[in-house]
Subunit: 376 residues, 4 copies
């Protein structure tokens, strides 16, 4: 628990990607946190504004290489890992003292004593990669192509969909921050499945995402000329967020659930829209679903069930940590349509990470997250 006199000291690993930059945007104005360390591999030694000129004038430390962080003495409370998928497990293991990995050992040389003790002050980790999201390490291997490198930590990791796991997040040392698509998809579905209002085996999630979700890596498929003025699905029946969604829905259903999840790439920087087609339990209609969601999320600061008939759009959440939801009757009897939208970089990544930080350290859950959406 952070003392009230002192801001949480945060490190961001992987600053040069969009998620890292978004963490900086949020944390730089957070009343209860400060950015003490920024790492970036290829841009080590540079100020942040060299790679992200919009982040100038914020009084930030220069970025350094991860292996050059002199952890002792930095008094870091919390590490945000915004590293590429697959590279995080060993880093986190090192940070949490469960490995003999050389690089990590060296990183942590002298502060090992403190951290290992588990006493107050020991570092905690929020991992924004996919590395600790799948509880089943066999499923991890199947979807990510290699053995999980820190299965013990995987068992400890808490899946940080804050609204659904608040209590476990509060006590966690390692939070696996959810994927962007799963966040948008499961927030409306879980309460409906838990109450048996929809048929868990007939869920079709047609998702549309902005391009920032693909990261800042230079890829032909993310070029302006390839993306603008068009739309197409990708990863059909094979996207790695499908098992993540299914893991959460299966828990809600109490049995294994398989879903259709079809993401689309479209010309938009930020935003995910999920249009989810569900089959209703006997005698139910959209009104029942909406009422259930209204009740379930009544006191949630970041989940807004829209007024009856009003259609969620990604532009209504841009830059904010909100998830907006509504439910509509289908023309086909016995079916309904759920529409949910988030900003993939905020509620789908950095914002939810900070929300989890707030929960983990007993801060107000909305601290630093009061961004009103930017429209237009």
């Amino acid at each position: 628990m952070a003392t009230t006199n002192r801001r949480l000291r945060c490190a961001i690993l992987g600053t040069s990607g969009y998620t890292g930059a978004e963490l900086v945007r949020i944390l730089a104005r957070h009343p209860g946190a400060e950015i003490a360390v920024l790492t970036a591999d290829r841009s080590a030694g540079q100020p942040v504004e060299r790679v992200f000129p919009h982040l100038g004038g914020l009084g930030l430390p220069d970025m350094i290489a991860i292996e050059d962080v002199e952890w002792p003495g930095l008094d870091i409370d919390l590490v945000f890992c915004a590293l590429p998928h697959g590279t995080t497990q060993e880093v986190v293991a090192g940070l949490l003292h469960r490995t003999g990995h050389d690089l990590v050992d060296e990183m942590l040389r002298e502060d090992r004593g403190d951290l290992a003790s588990g006493v107050p002050g020991a570092v905690k980790v929020i991992d924004l990669s996919a590395d600790f999201r799948l509880a089943d390490v066999d499923a991890y291997k199947q979807w990510y192509g290699h053995e999980h490198r820190a299965p013990g930590l995987q068992a400890e990791a808490v899946y940080g969909l804050t609204e659904l796991e608040r209590e476990r997040v509060a006590g966690a040392r390692l939070v696996a921050n959810p994927g962007c698509y799963p966040t948008a998809a499961v927030l409306p579905l879980v309460p409906l499945i838990e109450r048996g209002l929809i048929v868990a085996d007939d869920i079709i999630i047609d998702a549309k995402s902005g391009v920032s979700g693909a990261g800042r890596a230079a890829k032909e498929a993310s070029l302006f000329a390839e993306v603008s003025e068009g739309i197409h699905p990708y990863g059909i029946a094979s996207h790695r967020h499908a098992p993540e969604i299914e893991q959460t829905l299966s828990r809600a259903a109490g049995r294994a659930v398989t879903v259709n999840f079809t993401p689309h790439l479209m010309p938009m920087n930020r935003g995910i829209l999920s249009t989810t087609y569900v089959r209703l339990d006997e005698g139910r209609d959209a009104t029942h679903l909406r009422a259930t969601l209204l009740e379930r999320y009544e006191n949630e600061p970041f989940v807004r069930i829209f007024p009856d008939g009003q259609v969620p759009a990604t532009r209504f959440v841009r830059g904010s940590n909100d998830c907006i939801i509504n439910v509509f009757d289908d023309r086909i009897t016995g079916r309904a349509i759920i529409v949910s939208a988030i900003d993939n970089l905020v509620k789908g990544a950095a914002g939810q990470a900070v929300q989890n930080m707030n929960v983990m350290y007993g801060l107000s859950e909305t601290a630093g997250l009061g961004h009103v959406p930017l429209f237009p």
Copy 2:
């Protein structure tokens, strides 16, 4: 039937909208047609390039008011009606001599004799509005809010989805050109329903459209700042293209079919992508569906079934009359995903209209429609 020595003389009613402009773009370079009359209400008296500067230098007649067209002597073969929905029925009725409507009567004063005779040379009409698409005039009334004003002509009108209705189009005097969404949706579905490969009662069509489909009228919802950087569904369970889709699918199924059709508006000028989720008949998979479509559309010049695994995208058809299609297995056993894409202004409107013209007058079906897609 047009003589070989002479180009078809065409009139375009409603030139100042995007569909009208697209007809001009195509017909201006058509080897077997010429543009003899252009009408536009509010821009009457102006050259086309005043409202569409990209259409300069094409040697076109100035736009005139529809009531100022002096039909006698113009020797028009074919009228393309690109007027707003609801305003076309009486105009078409007038053109085809089935009305006593004053305005129309006046328009046609002197050429009434010729046209009424129905002899070769009488004018034909391709209507790009929705006015003659729904065969059932009761359904028309329900969806469009008023009695059909030319029910006799409605009975005569041929629904011009060329690949499915080629023979009837060839003999038609009045063609109801299909809507953009229905064209993209039903081309893949009809053969699959006809052969019983999919369950007709469990079809979910999630469609994404560019903004030009909303026309050139100044509406807040179509403003750049309202559309760019975002996506949202609209007309959920209430879009007028739903009954049009159902009409075609019901014919294919031999019984009444209801579908889910959920259109989305997104930041793109042209293009419709349909992601259609279907339940398979026992023992079928995506391979069966793909094979059926390959066989059905083997000789169709404008329908391309993509190679196995290649994903259709709207950018691959921009500016062309193509419909591209592929089929994918779902993660849910017994389901499949169909992806189809068209340019809403070409195959979804003006291009298909010209394709129908070609069929109606015995021209090569691809005449004037050889546009290679414009990418990027």
Copy 3:
């Protein structure tokens, strides 16, 4: 002057436009202000989130018609006028008691006494329209096509380019908030002209603007399909921001200055980029200009002179009140190129208005304006 125990009570007139919405976005989170009144003509009686769903959950008053505001008892300190150009003069005159205009009289019936007294507590006005920007009422008439309706107030109004007019703003009762283009253009030019570093008679301002600058009115020219995938100049040699720019530059030069100002409309929601081509005073180069700007704006929280060689881009200021500037040598000897960028809705409108409010009421100038730019 606001007491420290109490938030400034603000009214926003004209909430349903983009500038109004942006005022709401900023003021809703301002630590020293609260939104007490929101007016909107055509949406009167509705909650803000009906017209701007992104502004839900903020605890705002419903919008009402301007004539339905019951000013007495509301205890309003400050009125932001975000009304269309040309309609503001009488409203402001009414608010400031300089008119017998009926509508206004009626609006103010009972509180006339208080306000007229000019004692502390009297309402102040920040006008975001162009109505009070041109000090010369003849120039106003020439450019806006009608006599100025409140010439007395015009004489009193302070042109609120905060960095240049801070002291006068502090004491103002009526602030004319600058136009977006002038803000971006003159911030770098004024110090350079004042010190004689550039030739005031040879300034070419090529400006590029996002579409939100055109407002939310439904106009064909602002449609997505008309704007996306293109760029064009408009208002060539005739844009109303030209005299506004010249007014400021003439003051700096001490004589009448005429500039070239050529705005372009481009597919972007927010942002203005000014590329300004200047002729240097004998013996000067870009280094001199940059050094002067660095010195001049050293302590300004919202003006950032970029590091040598780094190029300003609109995306680096999106959603923030920043103006970023840099200077480059030209290939033509004796010339230089100045590049400046702002968010037209923030520093170019609502943000600068709030900055002025902060100055007028002795609040910290950055209060409520700490938005880190949203990128991507």
Copy 4:
């Protein structure tokens, strides 16, 4: 000269870039040409539609590696080189038999005899890279960082701005196809300089380009998220198209001319807009300039001087080989503003290349180039 009975047999080297794809788009429908060879380094062995799915169904040869082309027997008339800058000189030298370069020698092993003879049928080359554009090989070295590798061919190469160099193009064996920015900029300027209507030493060219001009290479700067919703200048005072523009303007002026040329990158696939600020010769105004351009380009099929007052926009030329131009008076006495627009991939690259081909082989200059602009 091509015989009338036979289509020109063309090879495209470098098919996998946007310029290569655009050459395919145009040549695939050219009535007097056929595509006989397509090369692509990394995609060798694949059909074109693997890398450009929009180019399916055109009956094209598969792409092969450049060194696998078996030139003898292919009977190629014309080679379009769409290779990266700096790699073309040796390839062209090989094709035209002026080198002992091994790779090239091997490529040409057996057909060397024929081609060397220079008899009719010998291959000609249109190079779309910058390799042969600068006549002065010293300037080339300065701007491109290495010695020119084929200075003899450089002396022979004709700069293919068709409207200005038609006669030399007609007789050329090697055409250096102009850059996109220079094409848009110099078409209006050359006639004005030649007639002394403007001051050649005070020309400011503010150009705005779509992203396709940066090619299909995966670069961070070309990512959707880096480009959309923004604009910025680049290559300020250092862009390689500056010397190319100056070369042409210097010829027109009869003396060395230096210009300001400032390109901007903006969110648009295709298009270049040049806003050019010029100082007029004594007593001239925009009317004189416009009249001169009207006269000069009266019979040019691809250059359209817009009606007085109508503003060129890139969207009016999208997909076409047109250059549209207009001239406007400045507010500063003695100055004028020229606005010109092209599609950078058509008139700025592949279209002008085909136009040059038509001229070189005595075909109708508009053959295969009748594309009406695609709007919206």
